[in-house]
Amino acid sequence: MQWRHKDLLDVSQLSLDEARFVLDTARYFQEINSRPVKKVPTLKGRSVVLFFAEPSTRTKTSFDVAGKRLSADTFALAKSGSSLSKGESLKDTALTLQAMNPDAIVIRHSSSGAAQFLAERLECSVINAGDGRHAHPTQALLDAFTLAQRWGDLKGRTVLILGDIAHSRVARSNVLLLNLLGARVRLCGPRTLLPPGVEDWEAEVFSDLPKAVRGADAVMCLRLQLERMQAGLLPDLREYARTYGLGERHMALAASEALVLHPGPINRGVEIASALADSGRSVILDQVAAGVAVRMALLFLYLTRKPAE
């Protein structure tokens, strides 16, 4: 398949064939990642800017490793120490980066729509590494990759996404991609953490965790931000952990081989029981490894794309 997209803003841009092609390509790079020498010259001389205007360790490192393993030069630009913290507008930062002529900019930003904002203004590829509450397509792709490694095909599988759906770009992108790949999606969280209009999403919505988890093939926990308590959306962590924290007792209701995912970083004992995170059901570290492979695949595809004539 010849890749033609300039930017990756959300999984909604991808057809089923394209999503599968990304995962197939990632499988190839996953194999490279298991070799003693993990570096290939594929993107030698190409440059990728990692523009993280919001704190991130794992996604940024994952893209950094992915780029370096393909021999691309990666340049990190964090918000602190960048001119963004000196009041420069996103537009000016973007144009400045563009003037350095990178092949791709990977952006993480706290505003929904920030990746699109860059994509509309820049000639280079823009890869969305998370924009506000909107989208996190590379996370959804690595989650699907992780599940596909265990299951082969996601078709007909039931995946429960649990927790703060309203504020989660991970949930939004996963709902789209899991449906595209033929999985059934369930969502569970208190009403205060469900987005408006969720009843029209392609997902079954629950507020009761034991009901939601019944028969699920995988449960994807979401990180709970402490701001949600301050905003009056939840009473406290303890009550959240009691009601929506995933534990072994819930997994007993799920399918027998059910898997547990978490995009990280984990709040142990809050959204997931500590022992469960370390158990054989947990594929949390597989997700991290998958992240590198998927991002290698994406950098490869977007940097070697052939624009439509």
Partner: protein, 423 residues
């Protein structure tokens, strides 16, 4: 008839061909154009069959001066008003310094007089509270004497019902009513996006329509209880309309306005993080659009305003959640709403009431009903003219409109103020 200074011949008033006679800046007659009256010494102007309309009144604008002249100033704002068909313009107090004392009011009036001595006329709206902080009353008597025709905390809703009640009472003592920007301040104020499926899908911070309706309900109850009028600014949703209809049935002294963009656009327009469509209150749903049109036709909503809110290009060219709210509206309002009349979405009567007699009646401004002695403020409007909304075609400094790039129908061909041709 020797005092007649101007005869505008051959204009279309509704379906009738008419001549307009002007004497001493006022309407002397609106006569059928069939018999050609000779008037000695008067200037003659052939309208060529264009539509005759009274000049419009806009009770809700932000002209940004003093303090934000890079967005707009009184001269440029009134220039946009003049070419957009307005003879009376009310401007809000959220300038810098805030219009909470006579000095600022007088400065605004002086700027308007020196830039546009023959009009459009400027009518400042005074701040309801000092610095718009909703803590202490502004000196409303001083402001009224200086020329403020109403009071408002526009943009910064008043959280305290007690403060708002006292403000209504004190303002009414000055013969002025309060204009309230209805927005429950604890529910994502200024989000500029409607809460609903679109905001949920796009992950946008959003405000539910109940945030507006809750304050509308409070204001209605206060007006009904105190028997003091209140004017509800830029109503955007069906819920508010239903409350206002209830209030009017009861006879509560409530008047309300809406804006062209709420009649023409929905939340989908902002779905792609387009900051030109970020406005407060936000664009709502198709159901709200229908409710507002019905309310405007029936008179539940009294008037139209632009809520002209110019911003500089660089302020809007940012992330959606960081962009200021507001749409530049003086240049486009007439074309946009006349088109609703052409499409039979809005009656001609409602259009004329909403832009002329309605606002002038509420705020006591001069109005032209084409009766003898009315100010000779009128337009010749070419309903067939097409024009493209571009940064260059807008007279306002604010190019921030979601209609940029649209081809609109209908344009002011001539604008007479006090019988003098200004456009």
């Amino acid at each position: 008839m020797s005092a007649v200074q101007l005869v505008v011949r051959n204009a279309l008033w509704g379906k009738k061909k008419v001549d307009v006679l002007v004497a001493r800046g006022r309407i002397a007659a609106l006569a059928p154009a069939v018999r050609k009256t000779r008037v000695d010494g008067a200037e003659e102007f052939d309208a060529g069959g264009l539509a005759l309309l009274p000049s419009l009144t806009d009770c809700h604008t932000h002209l940004r001066e003093p303090g934000f002249e890079y967005k707009e100033d009184i001269a440029s704002g009134l220039d946009a008003a003049l070419h957009g068909g307005f003879s009376n313009v009310m401007c809000m107090a959220n300038t810098s310094p805030v219009n909470d004392n006579a000095t600022v009011t007088e400065l605004m009036l002086e700027k308007a007089r020196s830039a546009h001595p023959g009009g459009p006329r400027l009518y400042p709206v005074g701040a309801l509270s000092r610095g718009l902080k909703a803590e202490e009353l502004a000196p409303l008597a001083e402001l009224a004497q200086a020329g403020c025709v109403a009071f408002s905390n526009d943009g910064l809703p008043v959280p305290s019902a007690e403060f708002f009640r006292r403000a209504m009472e004190y303002a009414w003592d000055q013969g002025r009513r309060v204009i309230d920007h209805c927005e429950e301040p604890s529910m994502n104020p200024g989000a500029g996006m409607n809460e609903g499926p679109v905001s949920g899908r796009q992950g946008m911070t959003a405000q539910p329509d109940v945030a507006e309706a809750a304050q509308v309900a409070r204001d209605i109850l206060l007006a009904d209880y105190l028997k003091i009028p209140v004017h509800l600014a830029h109503i955007s949703c069906r819920r508010s309309v239903e409350l206002i209809a209830w209030a009017k049935e009861r006879g509560a002294p409530v008047t309300a306005e809406t804006c062209p963009h709420y009649l023409l656009l929905t939340e989908e327009r902002a779905a792609n993080y387009d900051t030109a469509a970020k406005v407060n209150p936000p664009l709502r749903t198709g159901e709200d659009v229908e409710a507002l049109l019905a309310a405007l036709n029936s008179g539940v909503i009294d008037i139209l305003v632009t809520d002209h809110a110019p911003h500089a290009a660089h302020e809007k060219e940012v992330e959606f959640d960081r962009a200021p709210c507001g749409i530049s509206g003086l240049d486009t309002a007439l074309s946009l709403t006349w088109d609703l009349v052409e499409k039979k979405r809005l009656s001609r009567e409602a259009f004329l009431r909403a832009w002329t007699t309605g606002p002038c009646g509420i705020f006591g401004l001069p109005v032209n009903r084409f009766q003898v002695g009315d100010p000779a403020d009128f337009l010749l409007f070419d309903p067939a003219a097409r024009w493209e909304v571009t940064p260059e075609s807008l007279r306002s400094k604010g190019k921030n409109t979601p209609f940029l790039g649209s081809r609109l129908r209908g344009r002011v061909a001539a604008h007479f103020l006090g019988g003098k041709k200004k456009v």
